[in-house]
Amino acid sequence: SYFSFYVCYTECKNKRPRRTIKPAARNVSKSALPSGLDALNPNRRTLRTASSNRDKKNKDKLDTEIFELYLEDLWKDIDEEKRSAYAYFDSLWFHMYTSGHNKSNVLKWIKAKKVFSRQYVFVPIVIWGHWNLLVLCNFGETDYLGTDKGPRMLLLDSLKTTNPTRLRSNIKRFIADIFKTEEREENEQFINKICLEFPEVPQQNGDECGIYVLYFIYCFLQNKALGEDFSQLVCQTFPPLPCFPFAPYKSYANMFSL
Protein backbone atom coordinates (compact mmCIF):
# COMPACT_ATOMS: atom_id res chain seq x y z
CA SER A 1 0.00 0.00 0.00
CA TYR A 2 2.78 2.42 0.89
CA PHE A 3 4.66 1.40 -2.24
CA SER A 4 1.58 2.01 -4.37
CA PHE A 5 1.20 5.43 -2.81
CA TYR A 6 4.84 6.21 -3.50
CA VAL A 7 4.56 5.09 -7.10
CA CYS A 8 1.46 7.22 -7.58
CA TYR A 9 3.15 10.20 -6.01
CA THR A 10 6.25 9.82 -8.16
CA GLU A 11 4.18 9.50 -11.29
CA CYS A 12 2.20 12.59 -10.37
CA LYS A 13 5.29 14.70 -9.90
CA ASN A 14 7.02 13.63 -13.06
CA LYS A 15 4.23 13.35 -15.55
CA ARG A 16 3.73 15.90 -18.28
CA PRO A 17 1.41 15.41 -21.22
CA ARG A 18 2.61 15.93 -24.72
CA ARG A 19 1.58 19.35 -25.93
CA THR A 20 0.25 18.14 -29.25
CA ILE A 21 -0.88 14.59 -29.89
CA LYS A 22 -2.05 13.85 -33.38
CA PRO A 23 -3.79 10.48 -33.74
CA ALA A 24 -2.53 8.84 -36.90
CA ALA A 25 -5.54 6.59 -37.29
CA ARG A 26 -8.04 9.44 -37.42
CA ASN A 27 -8.74 12.10 -39.98
CA VAL A 28 -9.46 14.89 -37.53
CA SER A 29 -7.96 15.40 -34.10
CA LYS A 30 -10.50 16.25 -31.45
CA SER A 31 -10.33 19.53 -29.64
CA ALA A 32 -11.20 17.86 -26.34
CA LEU A 33 -8.02 15.80 -26.40
CA PRO A 34 -5.59 18.44 -25.06
CA SER A 35 -8.03 19.47 -22.35
CA GLY A 36 -8.48 15.87 -21.27
CA LEU A 37 -4.78 15.27 -20.98
CA ASP A 38 -4.05 18.62 -19.38
CA ALA A 39 -6.67 18.11 -16.74
CA LEU A 40 -4.94 15.05 -15.36
CA ASN A 41 -1.60 16.76 -14.90
CA PRO A 42 -1.19 18.11 -11.36
CA ASN A 43 1.03 20.89 -12.70
CA ARG A 44 -1.55 21.88 -15.27
CA ARG A 45 -1.80 25.44 -14.04
CA THR A 46 1.86 26.09 -14.78
CA LEU A 47 1.77 24.72 -18.30
CA ARG A 48 1.94 27.04 -21.26
CA THR A 49 -0.20 25.69 -24.04
CA ALA A 50 -0.46 27.19 -27.47
CA SER A 51 -4.07 26.21 -27.86
CA SER A 52 -7.16 27.81 -29.27
CA ASN A 53 -9.50 29.87 -27.14
CA ARG A 54 -11.97 27.03 -27.05
CA ASP A 55 -9.33 24.67 -25.77
CA LYS A 56 -8.25 27.13 -23.12
CA LYS A 57 -11.82 27.65 -22.06
CA ASN A 58 -12.46 23.92 -21.74
CA LYS A 59 -9.03 22.77 -20.67
CA ASP A 60 -10.11 21.30 -17.33
CA LYS A 61 -13.39 19.89 -18.52
CA LEU A 62 -13.86 16.26 -19.43
CA ASP A 63 -16.10 15.13 -22.22
CA THR A 64 -17.92 11.84 -22.16
CA GLU A 65 -15.59 10.10 -24.57
CA ILE A 66 -12.40 10.70 -22.60
CA PHE A 67 -14.26 9.87 -19.42
CA GLU A 68 -15.33 6.49 -20.82
CA LEU A 69 -11.81 5.62 -21.89
CA TYR A 70 -10.47 6.31 -18.41
CA LEU A 71 -13.27 4.41 -16.73
CA GLU A 72 -12.72 1.40 -18.97
CA ASP A 73 -9.09 1.34 -17.93
CA LEU A 74 -9.95 1.66 -14.25
CA TRP A 75 -12.31 -1.28 -14.65
CA LYS A 76 -9.60 -3.48 -16.14
CA ASP A 77 -7.51 -3.15 -12.99
CA ILE A 78 -10.05 -4.52 -10.51
CA ASP A 79 -10.36 -8.18 -9.64
CA GLU A 80 -13.01 -10.53 -10.95
CA GLU A 81 -15.01 -10.52 -7.73
CA LYS A 82 -15.47 -6.77 -7.78
CA ARG A 83 -16.26 -6.81 -11.47
CA SER A 84 -19.28 -8.95 -10.76
CA ALA A 85 -20.29 -7.07 -7.61
CA TYR A 86 -20.02 -3.63 -9.21
CA ALA A 87 -21.23 -2.14 -12.49
CA TYR A 88 -21.28 1.23 -14.18
CA PHE A 89 -23.46 2.96 -16.75
CA ASP A 90 -22.18 4.74 -19.81
CA SER A 91 -21.88 8.46 -19.10
CA LEU A 92 -24.22 9.30 -21.98
CA TRP A 93 -27.07 7.11 -20.77
CA PHE A 94 -28.54 9.43 -18.12
CA HIS A 95 -28.65 12.30 -20.60
CA MET A 96 -30.17 10.05 -23.25
CA TYR A 97 -32.81 9.08 -20.71
CA THR A 98 -33.66 12.60 -19.52
CA SER A 99 -33.68 14.10 -23.01
CA GLY A 100 -36.12 11.43 -24.10
CA HIS A 101 -34.05 10.22 -27.03
CA ASN A 102 -34.03 6.44 -27.09
CA LYS A 103 -35.46 6.29 -23.59
CA SER A 104 -36.68 2.74 -24.10
CA ASN A 105 -33.32 1.67 -25.50
CA VAL A 106 -31.48 3.10 -22.50
CA LEU A 107 -33.74 1.25 -20.08
CA LYS A 108 -33.15 -1.95 -22.04
CA TRP A 109 -29.39 -1.49 -21.81
CA ILE A 110 -29.67 -0.76 -18.10
CA LYS A 111 -31.61 -3.96 -17.58
CA ALA A 112 -28.67 -5.88 -19.08
CA LYS A 113 -26.46 -4.42 -16.33
CA LYS A 114 -28.37 -6.44 -13.68
CA VAL A 115 -28.61 -3.60 -11.20
CA PHE A 116 -30.37 -5.73 -8.59
CA SER A 117 -27.50 -8.21 -8.41
CA ARG A 118 -24.86 -5.58 -7.69
CA GLN A 119 -23.53 -4.07 -4.52
CA TYR A 120 -22.62 -0.78 -6.21
CA VAL A 121 -23.72 0.67 -9.53
CA PHE A 122 -21.98 3.85 -10.65
CA VAL A 123 -24.04 6.28 -12.70
CA PRO A 124 -22.02 9.21 -14.09
CA ILE A 125 -24.33 12.15 -14.70
CA VAL A 126 -23.51 15.05 -17.00
CA ILE A 127 -26.27 17.58 -16.68
CA TRP A 128 -26.33 21.34 -17.18
CA GLY A 129 -22.62 21.27 -17.95
CA HIS A 130 -21.64 19.63 -14.67
CA TRP A 131 -20.52 16.13 -13.67
CA ASN A 132 -22.02 14.28 -10.72
CA LEU A 133 -21.76 10.69 -9.58
CA LEU A 134 -24.84 8.76 -8.51
CA VAL A 135 -24.11 5.48 -6.72
CA LEU A 136 -26.87 2.89 -6.40
CA CYS A 137 -26.10 0.74 -3.35
CA ASN A 138 -27.52 -2.68 -2.50
CA PHE A 139 -30.56 -2.34 -4.71
CA GLY A 140 -31.28 -6.05 -4.55
CA GLU A 141 -31.38 -6.13 -0.73
CA THR A 142 -35.02 -5.13 -0.55
CA ASP A 143 -35.60 -6.92 2.76
CA TYR A 144 -33.18 -4.52 4.45
CA LEU A 145 -34.89 -1.29 3.33
CA GLY A 146 -34.24 1.44 5.88
CA THR A 147 -31.05 -0.09 7.27
CA ASP A 148 -27.42 0.43 6.28
CA LYS A 149 -27.48 -2.87 4.43
CA GLY A 150 -30.50 -1.94 2.36
CA PRO A 151 -31.03 -0.03 -0.87
CA ARG A 152 -29.88 3.56 -0.89
CA MET A 153 -28.47 6.16 -3.26
CA LEU A 154 -25.51 8.50 -2.91
CA LEU A 155 -25.12 11.64 -4.98
CA LEU A 156 -21.48 12.76 -4.93
CA ASP A 157 -21.10 16.35 -6.06
CA SER A 158 -17.82 18.25 -6.06
CA LEU A 159 -19.58 21.61 -6.33
CA LYS A 160 -21.78 22.47 -3.38
CA THR A 161 -23.52 25.38 -5.04
CA THR A 162 -25.23 23.10 -7.53
CA ASN A 163 -28.94 22.92 -6.82
CA PRO A 164 -29.78 19.24 -6.24
CA THR A 165 -33.56 19.71 -6.24
CA ARG A 166 -34.04 19.55 -10.00
CA LEU A 167 -31.62 16.68 -10.32
CA ARG A 168 -33.41 14.85 -7.53
CA SER A 169 -36.68 14.68 -9.45
CA ASN A 170 -34.86 13.42 -12.55
CA ILE A 171 -33.18 10.73 -10.46
CA LYS A 172 -36.46 9.65 -8.85
CA ARG A 173 -38.12 9.24 -12.21
CA PHE A 174 -35.05 7.39 -13.47
CA ILE A 175 -35.12 4.94 -10.55
CA ALA A 176 -38.86 4.36 -10.85
CA ASP A 177 -38.43 3.46 -14.52
CA ILE A 178 -35.58 1.09 -13.69
CA PHE A 179 -37.86 -0.73 -11.25
CA LYS A 180 -40.66 -0.80 -13.80
CA THR A 181 -38.40 -2.17 -16.52
CA GLU A 182 -37.28 -4.95 -14.19
CA GLU A 183 -40.95 -5.72 -13.48
CA ARG A 184 -40.19 -5.62 -9.77
CA GLU A 185 -43.14 -5.98 -7.46
CA GLU A 186 -42.15 -3.08 -5.22
CA ASN A 187 -44.67 -0.26 -5.33
CA GLU A 188 -44.16 3.47 -5.53
CA GLN A 189 -44.24 3.80 -1.76
CA PHE A 190 -41.27 1.44 -1.50
CA ILE A 191 -39.31 3.34 -4.13
CA ASN A 192 -39.91 6.64 -2.36
CA LYS A 193 -38.38 5.21 0.80
CA ILE A 194 -35.02 4.65 -0.87
CA CYS A 195 -32.92 7.46 0.58
CA LEU A 196 -30.96 9.79 -1.66
CA GLU A 197 -27.99 10.96 0.38
CA PHE A 198 -25.50 13.75 -0.24
CA PRO A 199 -22.24 12.78 1.47
CA GLU A 200 -19.53 15.34 2.08
CA VAL A 201 -16.89 14.90 -0.59
CA PRO A 202 -13.81 16.88 -1.64
CA GLN A 203 -14.74 20.02 -3.53
CA GLN A 204 -13.23 21.09 -6.82
CA ASN A 205 -11.30 24.32 -7.28
CA GLY A 206 -11.70 24.81 -11.00
CA ASP A 207 -13.54 23.04 -13.79
CA GLU A 208 -12.37 19.54 -12.99
CA CYS A 209 -15.64 17.97 -11.84
CA GLY A 210 -15.21 15.17 -14.37
CA ILE A 211 -11.88 14.26 -12.79
CA TYR A 212 -13.54 14.24 -9.40
CA VAL A 213 -16.19 11.79 -10.56
CA LEU A 214 -13.48 9.43 -11.80
CA TYR A 215 -11.72 9.95 -8.49
CA PHE A 216 -14.84 9.07 -6.49
CA ILE A 217 -15.28 5.86 -8.48
CA TYR A 218 -11.62 5.06 -7.95
CA CYS A 219 -12.06 5.42 -4.17
CA PHE A 220 -14.95 2.97 -4.21
CA LEU A 221 -12.90 0.54 -6.28
CA GLN A 222 -10.07 0.73 -3.75
CA ASN A 223 -12.39 -0.63 -1.06
CA LYS A 224 -10.46 -3.68 0.08
CA ALA A 225 -13.04 -5.93 1.64
CA LEU A 226 -15.86 -6.67 -0.76
CA GLY A 227 -18.46 -6.71 1.98
CA GLU A 228 -17.18 -3.58 3.66
CA ASP A 229 -19.91 -1.22 4.77
CA PHE A 230 -19.99 1.66 2.31
CA SER A 231 -20.89 4.19 4.98
CA GLN A 232 -17.46 3.64 6.49
CA LEU A 233 -15.92 4.42 3.12
CA VAL A 234 -17.90 7.62 2.82
CA CYS A 235 -16.95 8.72 6.32
CA GLN A 236 -13.27 8.14 5.65
CA THR A 237 -11.09 10.99 4.65
CA PHE A 238 -10.57 10.81 0.92
CA PRO A 239 -6.94 10.36 -0.06
CA PRO A 240 -5.39 13.41 -1.67
CA LEU A 241 -6.18 13.91 -5.32
CA PRO A 242 -2.59 13.42 -6.58
CA CYS A 243 -2.98 9.76 -5.70
CA PHE A 244 -5.48 9.39 -8.50
CA PRO A 245 -3.93 6.70 -10.72
CA PHE A 246 -2.42 7.95 -13.93
CA ALA A 247 -1.94 4.57 -15.56
CA PRO A 248 -5.06 5.13 -17.68
CA TYR A 249 -3.41 8.27 -18.98
CA LYS A 250 -0.57 6.19 -20.36
CA SER A 251 -2.96 3.75 -21.97
CA TYR A 252 -4.94 6.59 -23.42
CA ALA A 253 -1.85 8.28 -24.84
CA ASN A 254 -0.62 4.98 -26.24
CA MET A 255 -3.96 4.45 -27.88
CA PHE A 256 -3.54 7.64 -29.83
CA SER A 257 0.10 7.03 -30.61
CA LEU A 258 -0.83 3.99 -32.67
Binding site: S29, N58, D63, H101, N102, V126, T162, G206, C209, G210
Partner: protein
Protein backbone atom coordinates in the same frame (compact mmCIF):
# COMPACT_ATOMS: atom_id res chain seq x y z
CA UNK B 1 -15.10 -16.20 -32.71
CA UNK B 2 -18.52 -17.63 -33.29
CA UNK B 3 -19.76 -14.88 -35.54
CA UNK B 4 -16.79 -15.15 -37.84
CA UNK B 5 -16.96 -18.92 -37.91
CA UNK B 6 -20.60 -18.73 -38.95
CA UNK B 7 -19.79 -16.32 -41.73
CA UNK B 8 -16.91 -18.44 -42.93
CA UNK B 9 -19.22 -21.43 -43.16
CA UNK B 10 -21.72 -19.34 -45.07
CA UNK B 11 -19.03 -18.32 -47.53
CA UNK B 12 -18.05 -21.93 -48.08
CA UNK B 13 -21.63 -22.89 -48.77
CA UNK B 14 -21.91 -20.09 -51.28
CA UNK B 15 -18.75 -21.17 -53.03
CA UNK B 16 -20.32 -24.56 -53.60
CA UNK B 17 -23.30 -22.81 -55.19
CA UNK B 18 -21.06 -20.55 -57.22
CA UNK B 19 -22.83 -19.39 -60.38
CA UNK B 20 -26.15 -20.90 -59.38
CA UNK B 21 -27.54 -18.45 -56.85
CA UNK B 22 -25.80 -15.07 -57.18
CA UNK B 23 -28.62 -13.33 -55.31
CA UNK B 24 -28.14 -15.53 -52.28
CA UNK B 25 -24.43 -14.89 -52.42
CA UNK B 26 -24.95 -11.14 -52.43
CA UNK B 27 -27.49 -11.35 -49.62
CA UNK B 28 -25.09 -13.26 -47.40
CA UNK B 29 -22.11 -11.04 -48.08
CA UNK B 30 -23.60 -7.63 -47.24
CA UNK B 31 -25.45 -6.03 -44.35
CA UNK B 32 -27.50 -2.82 -44.37
CA UNK B 33 -27.12 -0.65 -41.29
CA UNK B 34 -28.87 2.52 -40.19
CA UNK B 35 -27.46 5.48 -38.28
CA UNK B 36 -30.05 7.47 -36.34
CA UNK B 37 -29.23 10.76 -34.65
CA UNK B 38 -31.08 12.98 -32.21
CA UNK B 39 -32.19 15.42 -34.91
CA UNK B 40 -34.20 12.69 -36.58
CA UNK B 41 -31.79 12.13 -39.44
CA UNK B 42 -31.41 8.56 -40.63
CA UNK B 43 -28.60 7.38 -42.87
CA UNK B 44 -28.50 3.90 -44.40
CA UNK B 45 -25.42 2.16 -45.70
CA UNK B 46 -24.93 -1.28 -47.19
CA UNK B 47 -21.51 -2.71 -46.49
CA UNK B 48 -19.68 -6.00 -46.32
CA UNK B 49 -19.77 -7.98 -43.11
CA UNK B 50 -16.01 -7.75 -42.89
CA UNK B 51 -15.71 -4.05 -43.68
CA UNK B 52 -14.61 -1.81 -40.83
CA UNK B 53 -17.34 0.38 -39.35
CA UNK B 54 -15.20 3.45 -39.85
CA UNK B 55 -16.72 3.53 -43.32
CA UNK B 56 -20.21 3.81 -41.84
CA UNK B 57 -19.08 6.61 -39.53
CA UNK B 58 -17.43 8.54 -42.33
CA UNK B 59 -20.52 8.07 -44.47
CA UNK B 60 -22.72 9.57 -41.75
CA UNK B 61 -20.39 12.54 -41.26
CA UNK B 62 -20.34 13.18 -45.01
CA UNK B 63 -24.13 13.19 -45.15
CA UNK B 64 -24.39 15.44 -42.09
CA UNK B 65 -21.73 17.78 -43.43
CA UNK B 66 -22.28 21.32 -42.16
CA UNK B 67 -24.66 20.25 -39.41
CA UNK B 68 -22.51 17.86 -37.39
CA UNK B 69 -18.84 18.49 -36.89
CA UNK B 70 -16.76 15.45 -37.76
CA UNK B 71 -15.44 13.62 -34.73
CA UNK B 72 -17.65 15.36 -32.17
CA UNK B 73 -19.92 12.48 -31.40
CA UNK B 74 -20.24 8.87 -30.51
CA UNK B 75 -21.74 5.92 -32.32
CA UNK B 76 -23.52 3.54 -29.97
CA UNK B 77 -24.65 0.04 -30.82
CA UNK B 78 -26.61 -1.85 -28.19
CA UNK B 79 -25.52 0.76 -25.65
CA UNK B 80 -21.82 0.31 -26.31
CA UNK B 81 -19.47 2.64 -28.09
CA UNK B 82 -18.44 1.58 -31.59
CA UNK B 83 -14.82 1.74 -32.67
CA UNK B 84 -13.92 2.35 -36.27
CA UNK B 85 -11.84 -0.81 -36.54
CA UNK B 86 -14.71 -3.11 -35.56
CA UNK B 87 -16.70 -4.98 -38.18
CA UNK B 88 -20.38 -5.99 -38.34
CA UNK B 89 -19.23 -9.60 -38.21
CA UNK B 90 -17.40 -9.10 -34.91
CA UNK B 91 -20.47 -7.54 -33.32
CA UNK B 92 -22.94 -10.05 -34.78
CA UNK B 93 -24.90 -7.23 -36.35
CA UNK B 94 -27.96 -8.08 -38.41
CA UNK B 95 -29.52 -6.57 -41.49
CA UNK B 96 -31.47 -3.46 -40.51
CA UNK B 97 -29.70 -2.95 -37.19
CA UNK B 98 -29.67 0.58 -35.86
CA UNK B 99 -26.68 2.56 -34.64
CA UNK B 100 -27.35 5.67 -32.54
CA UNK B 101 -25.29 8.80 -32.97
CA UNK B 102 -24.97 11.12 -29.98
CA UNK B 103 -22.83 14.19 -29.58
CA UNK B 104 -20.40 13.88 -26.68
CA UNK B 105 -21.24 15.89 -23.59
CA UNK B 106 -18.75 18.08 -21.78
CA UNK B 107 -18.95 19.06 -18.13
CA UNK B 108 -17.07 21.48 -15.96
CA UNK B 109 -18.30 24.30 -13.79
CA UNK B 110 -16.20 26.99 -12.17
Amino acid sequence: MFGRSGITAAVKVEEEDDGKTPAAKRAGEYVTLKVQDTDGRAVYRTMRWTEQLQGLMDFYYDRAHGRVQRGTGRFLYDGRRLSGWQTPAELDMEDGDEVDFFEELIGGAA
